[in-house]
């Protein structure tokens, strides 16, 4: 089923559409949510957050615009934002120390002015371009580490390389990215 057909199904037959959407993308959404929440939440909180993401997607079903991005991208953004929300709430209640991998950030960026918004967008595009230019597997390591929040061991297993190689490549990639975005 094409994404356009799935969007149509979500509108015409929400029950079936939601079923197909969850069957197809649940494992992906879980990966993003768990990456963000594994340090502060239990399994049930992660499940609750994932169900929220699909519910949000269901609510947005009539306004989805596939020219902006795929359903997977919509779900990824929703998953990120919802997980950050939950993380912030948990952190307040659990008083968990901030690790290097997690930090406070606005769920949706609300730049104070237009200049800042433009600068943020430029920075994002530049970072994506630089990550792309790292080539495989360095780009994959950066995305898995910093977008999906995966551990070095998980990345090493997924990409079939040694853990210390992952760390070395990550350090080198980080240095390159730092240099590239420091000018902005």
């Amino acid at each position: 089923m094409l994404e356009e057909e799935l969007c149509e199904l979500l509108v015409q037959s929400p029950e079936r559409g939601l079923e197909v959407l969850m069957n197809r993308y649940m494992a992906f959404v879980c990966a993003i949510v768990r990456g963000k929440l594994s340090e502060v939440c239990g399994k049930r909180d992660v499940e609750e957050c994932v169900s929220d993401v699909f519910y949000e997607m269901y609510r947005m079903r009539e306004s989805l615009d596939l020219t902006k991005g795929s359903l997977k991208a919509y779900l990824a953004v929703l998953a990120k934002r919802r997980a950050i929300d939950v993380y912030r709430k948990q952190r307040k209640t659990n008083n968990v120390l901030t690790s290097l991998d997690v930090r406070d950030c606005d769920v949706a960026p609300s730049p104070h002015n237009v200049e800042e918004a433009v600068a943020d967008k430029e920075l994002s595009l530049l970072l994506l371009k630089e990550i792309q230019e790292l080539g495989w597997p360095d780009s994959q390591i950066v995305i898995r580490k910093y977008y999906f929040g995966q551990s070095t061991r998980t990345i090493a297993q997924a990409l079939g390389i040694k853990e210390n190689t992952v760390d070395k490549k990550k350090s080198r990639a980080l240095a390159k990215l730092k240099q590239a975005i420091s000018h902005v």
């Binding site: 069957n23 950030c105 949706a108 997924a158 079939g160």
Partner: protein, 502 residues
Amino acid sequence: MDEKIIEILDTLSVEQTDKMLQESRDVVEMKISGGQRRRIKQAAYRKAGLKNPRPVCIPKVVIPLAAAAVLLASLYAAGLDSVSAAFSQVFKLLPGQGIQENEEGAGYMLAQCVTVENEEIIFTLENVVAADNGITVSYIIEKKDFDEQLHQRLVEDPFSVDQEIAGVFEWWPDRPETISCTGWGIPPEKAPSVSLRTEGTEVTKLAGKQCIYGKYERSTFRYEWNTEEVSEAITYTLSHGDYNVSLDFQMKNLTYGALEEIGPTGYNNDISITAVPKVLNNKLQVDLYSINKSGYKLLTYGDVNKGGSRGYGPYLETNSGIKQPYEPRCALEQEFYEFMVDEVNCRFVFDIEPTDREFTFKIPYLFVYSGEEQTVFLRMPQEGEVARLNQRVEFSEGPIVIETVETAKGEIQTEDWPEVVLKITLRYDNQSPNIIMCFPGGVIVFDVDDTQIWRQSNFGWDEGGIIGVHAFISSPESDEVKVVFQYPQFWLMDEYALSFSL
């Protein structure tokens, strides 16, 4: 610096996220259990105010004590936690068609097989299903006065019979009808005179199909009928005017509260398989129905006559030993039954001993495929060089690894069309011994310069999956080749053991 990158990636727009995901060329997913999947789904439906899953409906079905004991034993053996975790609690069995889950509307099926006979035939009403504003009736006729010898000759050498009939060679002589099958839409001149009546009113016939094999004739007719008018209290009459015979039957509700009430059920990898056994003509007939929530498409149950077989398939354990199903699998007497069984909702038929009472139907593995697709871009090395990549192409159940890439001169070497042969070798890096991936030929597509390569060949096999591909490329302008891996196929090696007693 880590924090800065996380912050940027956390706040990407939909468009930017899409770009990143496309370029990452890698699937990142988390393993989730059936229980987790079910809880997440239930929560999402609840929040959305949707009615799935529906509350439990307690059906009026009595399970014999012996069957209940077997059911409990199999539930216990399988582990209660894993059983039916991903499945709902309201099912509708449509015999010969499938099991529907959480479907709206009532459904009814034949309460009991009915057989009547006269001097000419034995008339058996085998199956009736009332659902979706229609009613489907299937019956079998066994002719008592039948020329077995003529039939045997038609099976073995139909052309000699043709010559006798026509006297001279003729393409389509009017053969005796001992072997024939129609699709839906029997020609009016061949349609049997069958009518269905309820409370004195004849029901409108919509379509029919018929299969004749030797002394047996099996016909199925669909009638226009509002299923709301169906009731367990009403008696229906099916009449066959050609043989002047009729029979009465009643219907029963076909909604069940659990798959196990329909028949012994096994669950693996979010695929349930339910067996509905019955003895017919001294043979054990096992109909299989699946509900598939795995995301895979079920191809076969491992039938040795189908693609994807590992050389062995389903079998039956009984008191008297192991029984293999009739050949071909999923069919009895070839043409006679083959048309009526679906690839997935399949029928297996076994010879059994009169003393056999306890049975376990075993399905050692399933053969499935997924709709996944992954694209990678490879640099073609210089002629004669071998690039050792070990590049992983990730799929949900594990990667396929591109081990080496090399190029060589092709056989065609004209000035305008110098051919280059790209050779890649592959390895399957299965993550679980119970899920074995393979790519059969034809699902790996190469593009160079946005043009699909028109010729490729495969070499080497590892458990059914190709491990090497030759792609023949004419005068490439680019040294980059796009390789698309589509529709990986898998053997799911978790066994189904469906126990029952008769």
